[in-house]
Symmetry: none
Subunit: 207 residues, 4 copies
């Protein structure tokens, strides 16, 4: 079946297919058969290459884009406020853009609902740095006047606004059928979240 692809390429196709299927159905809802079918691989390929469905998830989780986003954000020479704007925009594009290259990370949010062994890896390698990065931005914006709990809650408020669009997608589609997250809508939404959050943080600073 695998005439066209060298050995190692099956592995890559499996990971790519897994990202698709995990994104669409979540970890529990995804089936190994469907992943293998899309990867044009044998049913046994997942267990052969990754040991188990869990192992495949662990491999499929790739935080390069998230890391690259943070690195780019750190490298930006703008002020903290501007960097928060950029970060929210990039994060929203990653979460909502139909572009397949970014879909790989959308799994993360999904899996948060039903812990799997892979969740430790996600939390450690991707989400902790994200929280730290945002915490630093919040500190910069508020002038370091917040204690740990307050800073943490501000980070949660920003993240919550962003991830809401991902978690709530099925419901939002039902309540607002005309709502489509094309590029311009995503950018407008990101701008709103940035405005909303910066206004709140500014109030905190002056308080």
């Amino acid at each position: 079946m695998n005439d066209a692809g060298c050995a190692e390429q099956t592995r890559e196709r499996l990971i790519e297919a897994a990202r698709e299927v995990f994104s669409e159905h979540g970890f529990q809802g995804a089936t190994v058969r469907e992943i293998c079918r899309r990867a044009d691989a044998n049913v046994a390929a997942v267990n052969y290459h990754f040991g188990s469905k869990d192992g495949l998830l662990a491999e499929a989780l790739n935080f390069n884009q998230l890391k690259a986003m943070q690195a780019a954000n750190l490298a930006a020479t703008s002020c903290a406020e501007q960097r928060l704007r950029l970060f929210i925009r990039d994060f929203m594009l990653m979460l909502l853009d139909e572009n397949s290259a970014s879909r790989q990370c959308r799994m993360m949010a999904r899996e948060l609902a039903d812990p799997t062994p892979a969740l430790d890896k996600i939390a450690r390698e991707a989400i902790a740095p994200l929280h730290e990065h945002l915490g630093a931005l919040v500190d910069a914006i508020t002038g370091g006047t917040l204690d740990d709990a307050e800073r943490r809650r501000c980070v949660f408020s920003i993240l919550g606004q962003c991830t809401f669009y991902y978690h709530g997608e099925p419901v939002l589609q039902r309540l607002y059928p005309e709502l489509r997250f094309r590029r311009d809508e995503i950018e407008a939404t990101a701008a709103h979240i940035a405005d909303f959050s910066l206004a709140a943080l500014a109030a905190r600073k002056s308080a």
Copy 2:
């Protein structure tokens, strides 16, 4: 097997058990057997009383508390800002309190991730009124200066901040093991979200 419960109470025990198991594992992850085991009922009991697993979900979803919350909020004589504070506090208590009486609504958030036939009912009967209620509050607070899209995004920003603590629970437990959502922590969190949101809305109003 049914020594303890008078007839007809099995049905109630099944609903209560279903709320527990659906909350813990989601709809797909929950099994009829586990629900029946916890309800001390036969495997066939679910199908006898509710026709199917789907039917049980539909029954288990009970929006009384959510509706009562909105009704109480509408009846409050306070100003819009104060009513938003109250609403956020009640909503957070409902989402996070370990009190089993409120657990019934926690399923809702879970189901948003993987649409089931029951999602239509949830969206229509519970979430749409919630959005409308918050939209009215936002309008009252901002003096009706926002257009539809802006108001909607503000509602999403408020809801996103709240539901984040529910969706993100497994991850938050890992990143901040010392964090416990006891009553006082929930109230402090609700106060933060209210402060954060009201500050942002105030900025919108003056803008």
Copy 3:
């Protein structure tokens, strides 16, 4: 639920409903619930009144019509040929007529395919006399020239032609969608079977 019917009438309604459902789906395909639903009786009614599904079948089998048919045929003063004609016509009407009064016997043919404990009763009480009756007619028509095996085969040939329309109904509907067994078609069919069989028997006689 049973306000209208006195105790004993539930039993009768169950038997009538059983005849309907058994006729439509066979013994295995019929469900106790469906029978009770049609009889407007409780699920437990079947076991209460008849001990089991099998017991209900045994009761539902009522050969009165078949016996009456044979009695009437015996009483007829016509010649044997004419009595065979009449018998075939009555038998075909019983098998194919949509008239509910005769449906009660259609179960018999159904059950022949999948032996149940009730089959012994059917064979003994209804089918054996039928075979004997037809055997006597065949003897009368052929002048008693046939040995046991030959007479038996002639009876089988006649019965086979008749029951074919019952057993083969689902297939015939597919192959000849325009074919409808209304009264006139049934009579024409019965006439054909009688002609066909009498011609064959006449040839036997002269042979």
Copy 4:
């Protein structure tokens, strides 16, 4: 478990076992578990190889023998009467011979009682050609003097006589316990049906 059979042969064993079990219990009465048990295969094997119980039935139905019978009959150089004799004999051998090779077709008659999705296939691919073949023989024998309805009824009369022995088997065993359908009895029965039918057709012709 599969020590005895080389790979790929499980599929064949399943089909063979299915023919046995379907023959004995009908489609509804047969269980996948019993089929797998007899085939010495896993419960999941049926769904793996055939997708479903229905799929297995569709595969198990193999009309090769029936088609071969018709082809051989067409190729025969004898007169129409002789070819009808041969056909009836072959058909009866197929229906009644305990030889397992022919058992595959006995399911057909059984399924006629309770339509399944496979019945369409049976009717189209196996029974329609059978009816046409017999219709042509009847025409040849009667000199084409019959109209459509008459020819059809003659075909039904012939088929009914044959299938009676199959459908009625359980009852016949009870009424005539000494009757055994060994080869010679089958041939004698076939001869009777041919005699009976040819005599009737001859009468039609001259009429």
